[in-house]
Point group: C2
Chain length 443, copies 2
């Protein structure tokens, strides 16, 4: 597709290009934009019918939108904005500079402006920031037939018609009903008799992660968002929730690798933006390593007497670090998916204690054999292997419990991942190592 489009642009065959574009999907055109320079993107964008242009616009990156806004005519921009779904328009307004927002709001009615301002004020990552207002509302006095006629009349501009919301005169939500029921049930029935009154809702300030949990648990396609008075203010659809799930997972991956989380894609991030996200934790963890230095320095006499002890430090610390990361990763993920609760800390502790013995004893045994085969003195091989067992056990218990403690302290459990656990476990392992060495090797 890309080659065809480039060819048509190069040959300036714009009518043919226009036809070609009509056959394509909005998201695929947005993907082509990533490969073209700004000038060509704008040529393509101008050729699109305005409703389709709005669809493409909703898929573009912040920078691409800014490029387009700065080069298309104001009336054309207003047409595009009019065609956007409300949630996409809010996302767009949020990223534009104030003067562009002002220019767009000029054409809005007072009521629209009030609504836009209300939506712009919902905190990032809240249910309010995800919702849209294009839903179907019904009255409970309607029959199914009347409801279907109402949907036929108003449905074309709605983000979804698969769930309708039954509101009273004060816009308080009284029930929801699926299009499935409306189509399958007898058309003479009253909405009040068939609507579902025991539905799941969220409120504007709920965290998006909690909302995603509701979708996952109850297999929902949409969730209504209500205000404190129970009035319907918007709906959230599954396509936005799929994006939330992936974003939250990406953030967890980033935090667990000791980075500040970001929404930016890797390839479109600048070097300085990437570096800024990484350096803080690297600095903190590096400075924390002062403790390991102090411990090694204070046991300098032990090391000087048995220099070969130094050789095993990296192996001991890596193995303990890996063992701790395994445990903390499982617990962090379990908490994120709601499988591990705060009250499970005793279960986690005793499980990790047992797992760490089952894992640690073979590890220590293999290590003893390995070191003996390599010609180390048996007392040294034993010292290292015993430390390995104890360090693995400590690492797994620390790795299992710290994420739960973090959650308890209202911190994000994901920060208790590999890098931090490793640093903590290093200190513990070294203390164990040198103390065992002092006793066993009789210095």
């Amino acid at each position: 597709m890309l080659e065809k489009v480039i060819e048509l642009i190069d040959e300036k065959k714009f009518p043919a290009l226009k036809e070609e574009l009509k056959e394509m999907r909005a998201v695929d055109i947005a993907e082509i934009f990533e490969e073209l320079d700004v000038k060509n993107c704008i040529i393509i964008f101008r050729l699109l019918p305005k409703d389709f242009a709005a669809d493409v616009f909703a898929y573009l990156s912040s920078q691409q939108r800014k490029d387009i806004v700065s080069s298309i005519h104001e009336s054309h921009l207003n047409d595009i904005v009019d065609e956007l779904y409300f949630d996409d328009m809010i996302d767009f307004l949020e990223e534009m500079p104030a003067n562009v927002v002002k220019r767009i709001l000029v054409t809005a009615t007072d009521e629209e402006r009030k609504l836009i301002n209300q939506f712009l004020n919902y905190p990032e990552n809240s249910a309010g920031s995800l919702m849209t207002i294009e839903y179907v509302d019904l009255k409970k006095e309607m029959t199914i037939k009347e409801a279907l006629n109402h949907i036929k009349k108003t449905g074309v501009d709605k983000e979804t018609i698969y769930t309708s919301y039954v509101l009273n005169e004060k816009r308080k939500l009284e029930g929801i009903i699926s299009l499935r029921k409306l189509v399958l049930l007898d058309e003479h029935l009253l909405i009040s008799d068939v609507m579902n009154e025991d539905y799941i809702t969220s409120t504007t300030l709920d965290d998006q992660e909690e909302v995603a949990q509701l979708f996952k648990k109850y297999d929902l396609l949409t969730v209504p968002v209500v205000d404190k008075e129970g009035r319907l203010v918007g709906i959230i659809t599954i396509d936005d929730i799929v994006d939330v799930i992936e974003r939250e997972n990406t953030e967890d991956f980033q935090k667990m690798a000791a980075m500040a989380p970001t929404d930016e894609e890797y390839l479109s991030s600048s070097v300085f933006s990437l570096a800024r996200k990484r350096i803080v934790w690297l600095l903190i963890l590096m400075i924390t390593a002062t403790f390991t230095e102090m411990i090694i320095a204070s046991f300098e006499s032990v090391l000087a007497a048995v220099a070969v002890l130094a050789a095993s430090i990296p192996m001991l610390m890596n193995t303990a670090g890996n063992a701790g990361s395994q445990s903390s990763t499982l617990i962090i993920r379990g908490i994120a998916l709601g499988e591990v609760q705060l009250t499970d800390y005793l279960k986690v502790f005793s499980k990790e204690l047992r797992v760490s013995m089952v894992v640690g004893i073979p590890l220590a045994t293999v290590n003893f054999i390995r070191m003996a085969v390599l010609g180390n003195e048996l007392s040294i091989a034993f010292t290292v292997s015993l430390t390995l067992l104890l360090a693995t056990m400590m690492a797994k218990m620390v790795g299992g419990i710290l994420p739960i403690i973090a959650k308890k302290m209202k911190l994000d459990p994901a920060i208790m991942a590999g890098p931090l656990i490793t640093t903590i476990v290093d200190v513990l392992s070294l203390l164990v190592y040198f103390n065992i060495a002092s006793v066993l090797i009789k210095l």
Copy 2:
């Protein structure tokens, strides 16, 4: 809810319990089962109407299903199985012992049995293993009115009626049409004139991760699955894809923390099953550490001359390991989300090179000051800091490139995460460290 249910069971108020259960959601009852012993679960299960019992059954864990199967009457079991959606029934049959499967298949017709066997044979994690057969099929000669009547007649047993599939007499897929269009468009139009002929499909052997990418990219609610001849064999719905996305993410977290991936929940896994998933990588990585030992041992004379060099080994290796994990995590995630392509390796390499300098220089500077303040000799502080800079740079380039190489070699990029990168980077860092030390400290 749980307290109420337990109270009613304890007081043997079964009619009241039955009423209470009717008001609840299937997934909530399944959650209550987790807190009760087998005996009480079976009491509750027997009180449920059979279609609702099937809903609850679909949410239960493999063990809970086995407990129930072994204690309910065969005819009751057959009723439940009949009520399950086809995809849930296949999942259930897959986990049951052969004799149970046989008992259930006895009541199936020849045609059903053939279909069940076909579905049981789709590989795990394939599109075939996710799909269900309860879809609405239409003919292109129908009018919209006829299509809606057909849906009214057959829709009640379908997993979704929001997309219908237009099939020819050989069951070849010719088009799809949404219920949205059927409801909104004029009822006299022909399906052939309004159906979408440019739709996304997947095939039975597609990997579930690729199918999930299609849902995410095109914001789909369902995807049709066709065989090699283009015949429709089933459909996949978004609720199952949401589960796939979370499962694939969980697997990536596990692999990236050097564990064998598993579907089992942490708390319901046995100690030995958890230990088995963890020990293989721990052993491999421990044995690989033999290289670091050999390097340290071969530089024993350097260490003996300047014993304080040993003290910085953990800090150097942790920082380099963390720096490498950051890069590999971003690239692994970028590949998983389709944001980083194999052809981007030069971009990644040059970006990591620049980021690593921007990150490494301040890190090295802070470390130099830190070590000087702590009273180290400046030549030693300089040796450690220069190594820190070079190790960080190597770590970030190795961490950035290895996941791409893994993908290129058709391996899972997720194995190139922190633990493996750390082990590789340890060897490189130690070599750099001792060589710089030998030169700079003039041994």
